[in-house]
């Protein structure tokens, strides 16, 4: 799986960071979230799917490879 972030949509809510803090990162000065691991291991699927679901502005998508 591969995570894609639409930086035009992202409004730095940080819900993805709450769901998967090892995959996403946000500092308070940044306007958009940063993806630390764009292709996370399968073992993190549940957290990544939660992160994608929890984005209030649908900025995240998960592409299956």
């Amino acid at each position: 799986m591969r995570i894609h972030l639409d930086t035009d949509q992202c409004q730095a809510y940080g819900n993805c960071v709450l769901a998967a803090p090892d995959i996403f990162e946000l500092d308070d000065s940044s306007p958009v979230v940063k993806i630390l691991h764009a292709s996370p291991p399968e073992s993190r699927r549940a957290a990544v799917e939660e992160a994608v679901r929890s984005c209030p502005v649908e900025a995240l998508t998960l592409e299956e490879s």
Binding site: A12, Y13, G14, N15, V17, L18, P21, L26, D27, D28, E49, E50, R53, S54, P56, E58
Partner: protein, 388 residues
């Protein structure tokens, strides 16, 4: 299961349907929605959409390309029969199901003292409600909002953004449920932004051809040419009244979100009330967006697998208003003690810890999305110990 029917075509219903497909359900998937619209996002209705900063098409919720659902929009389920596993719809037709997802959400609570049939009196739940209210705003010289919860407060913020005169009438401080003892700070912030806040109850409306004002307790009157009633929501369970489902401020579920009293039925979103593990099984109903999407995913898997883990996700919420973003994790209303550990709760940036008997039950922040991360972690740890 060959046929699954999802009752409710908003966030909970759509996300549950998507999860059914993701989890491999290949049968017939039917989604029933009372509104004539495809699923759309409600949070912008009081904010960006009300301010005309977001177009109608942008409200549509993204849908998985693999959804392959049959939509029955403008239709309502009026009864569920567990014996025959059928739904009766408002046109009298009968719809059989093997699995059922109850996602009927909630509707605005009404006030007998402020009838919504009065011209100029509005509620805000649907996009049509929002369009109706929005069309009146430019002609209004004094808007009155009854209720100081998220919607009332956000709407007041939007009115100020549009340069409109707005008054909130509420006997409680603003955001009292979400902020507890810090709610006075929310009232202060709203006043700083030019909102008039009257801490009274409404006892009636004054009308000519349309609403002209509100009658307040104590005998005073408030002039208003547009009134919005925003005093919370009630779960949409009327259609379950004569069923085997247990209804008690929502449809009562077990810990896995399976509906008590019905076979092969689950619930998600505003309508679902379930025993929350950190509360030692006390029933909880949560109206937050993020809780809804997680319940939808969990309920869908539960329905397909016939079993599942206790739903114990930490509730979290956000609210954009008066130039700040409030965010919270946990359940602030449980707290008996609040400590502001950083900043000023009436200012642009703060972090507050909510505790009950010394134990963390929630944290709320403004101006920092990441401040809540350690708190969410701590609250999640509590869940694990409570569930084991």
């Amino acid at each position: 299961m060959r046929q699954i029917v999802v009752v409710g075509a908003s966030l909970a219903g759509l996300r549950a349907a998507e999860e059914l497909r993701r989890a491999g359900f290949a049968g017939e998937l039917i989604i029933i929605g009372e509104e004539p619209h495809q699923p759309y996002d409600r949070p912008p209705l009081s904010k960006a959409f009300m301010a005309s900063r977001v177009e109608r098409e942008k409200l549509a919720l993204r849908q998985s390309s693999r959804l392959a659902a049959q939509w029955m929009l403008g239709r309502r389920a009026v009864q569920v029969d567990d014996d025959t596993k059928t739904l009766t719809l408002d046109d009298g037709s009968i719809l059989p199901y093997d699995g059922l997802v109850i996602a009927t959400g909630s509707i605005p609570r009404q006030l007998a003292s402020v009838p919504i049939s009065t011209p100029g009196v509005h509620m805000l739940r649907t996009v049509d409600d929002a369009l109706s209210l929005r069309s009146e705003l430019p002609h209004s010289s004094n808007i009155a909002i009854v209720g100081g919860g998220f919607i009332g407060s956000e709407l007041a913020s939007t009115c100020r953004e549009l340069g409109l005169a707005v008054t909130i009438v509420t006997p409680l401080p603003l955001l009292a449920t979400a902020l507890g003892p810090l709610a006075d700070a929310a009232t202060t912030r709203a006043r700083k932004h030019g909102v008039r806040v009257i801490e009274r109850s409404v006892v009636g409306v004054r009308t000519a051809e349309r609403v002209t004002g509100l009658l307040l307790d104590g005998g005073t009157t408030l002039d208003a040419d547009v009134v919005v009633v925003a005093v919370g929501a009630v779960p949409r369970t009327d259609w379950l009244a004569n069923s085997k489902a247990i209804v008690d401020d929502g449809v009562v579920c077990d810990g896995t979100l399976a509906v008590t009293g019905l076979r092969d039925a689950v619930a998600a979103g505003d309508v679902a009330r379930w025993p929350y593990p950190p509360l030692n099984g006390e029933l909880l109903r949560v109206e937050h967006w993020t809780t809804t999407v997680e319940q939808a995913a969990a309920a869908a898997k539960r329905l397909l697998l016939g079993t599942g883990p206790a739903f114990a996700q930490v509730p979290s919420f956000w609210s954009d208003q008066f130039g700040i973003r409030l965010q919270g994790v946990g359940i602030p209303s449980l707290a008996d003690d609040v400590t502001v550990v950083e900043g000023d709760p009436a200012g642009d940036r703060f972090i507050a810890e909510y505790r009950r008997d010394g134990e963390l039950v929630a944290a709320v922040s403004a101006g920092s999305a990441t401040a809540l991360l350690p708190y969410r972690r701590e609250l999640a740890w509590h869940e694990v110990t409570a569930a084991s």
